[in-house]
Amino acid sequence: MNYYKIVSFCLILLLFGCGTNSTLESSDEENRDIELTKISASNPTAQHPSNQAKEELKKYDEITTIKAVNTDKDLLIAVEVHHHDRFKLANIRKELTKELEKMFPEMKVELTTDKKIILELDQLENKIQAESFTKKKLEKEIKKLIKLSKEQT
């Protein structure tokens, strides 16, 4: 009957939405306009791992913005993806986290795609660059952000 036709049509539409392929594509083109803030590594709050992670993530086509800050133990990364890639957001998050964890086995890696964390990390990066943050203050700040990114309600 007509009714069944409509229902099955809706089901087909729904199932097509589920069938996105989840593999991330990486390309070697370097001429994409991702803005990376390289933070100097000379001050006490060394940002070596962050810079390294940014270089690594730059390869992926899906990513448009990368912000990262780290302490000795924690590495907090926020990425923004192209809008039509947001359908596979959960997959992207999982795969990138896995890769970064492999890259930095001795650190606790937190990867998020949250807009708020991107904004906060941007401010934090600028602050680190402008003034010499004490180690303790940075640790406190990152702890706060990680807690914020894990909030559910």
């Binding site: 949250d114 990114s149 909030e151 559910q152 309600t153």
Partner: protein, 159 residues
């Protein structure tokens, strides 16, 4: 099902049905759909503006911004319903203004206003959720069914 019912009617009633079907003004379904799409989309657009505002100026993440956004939208709906503007919007756009959370707010608030004269307990209290109650009941029930399907798919289908 409607066809079956029609066949059981006496012949003159069937004749009348055919006659009135000819005379009936056709509903402009396509036009209504477009209107609902545009107005509903506009309401969601406002919601997105509000949630972006909360993310930028308050301590909310994308995960947590939903609650204050919904609260703000319902507050705006309350004002619009009270001033009689939302009725006009509803008349114009139909489902476009009823399906988003503002329609739910409107259903609660308008019935609260309507039954105000019957007193606070038996009037407002008992009639407030008369239309919104089913929404909650079937929302919870369908969420349960979907969760059941998802669990089965994950456990047995290895999705």
């Amino acid at each position: 099902m409607a066809d079956k019912k029609k066949k059981n009617l006496p012949p003159d009633a069937q004749e009348y049905q055919a006659f009135q079907k000819q005379r009936e003004v056709k509903r402009p379904i396509f036009k209504n759909c477009i209107k609902a799409f545009l107005v509903g989309g506009f309401i969601c657009f406002i919601g997105q503006i509000i949630s972006t505002f909360y993310i930028h100026f308050f301590n909310f993440t994308e995960q947590t911004v939903g609650n204050p956004t919904v609260a703000t939208l319902i507050f705006i709906t309350m004002l619009l319903t009270g001033f009689g503007v939302y009725d006009r919007i509803g008349q114009f756009s139909g489902a476009g203004s009823a399906v988003p959370v503002t329609g739910f707010g409107n259903a609660v608030i308008s019935s609260a206003i309507e039954h105000r004269t019957e007193g606070f307990v038996l009037g407002v209290g008992s009639n407030m959720l008369k239309l919104a109650g089913p929404v909650i009941v079937y929302g919870v029930f369908s969420a349960f069914v979907i969760a059941l399907i998802k669990t089965i798919l994950i456990k047995w289908g290895g999705l």
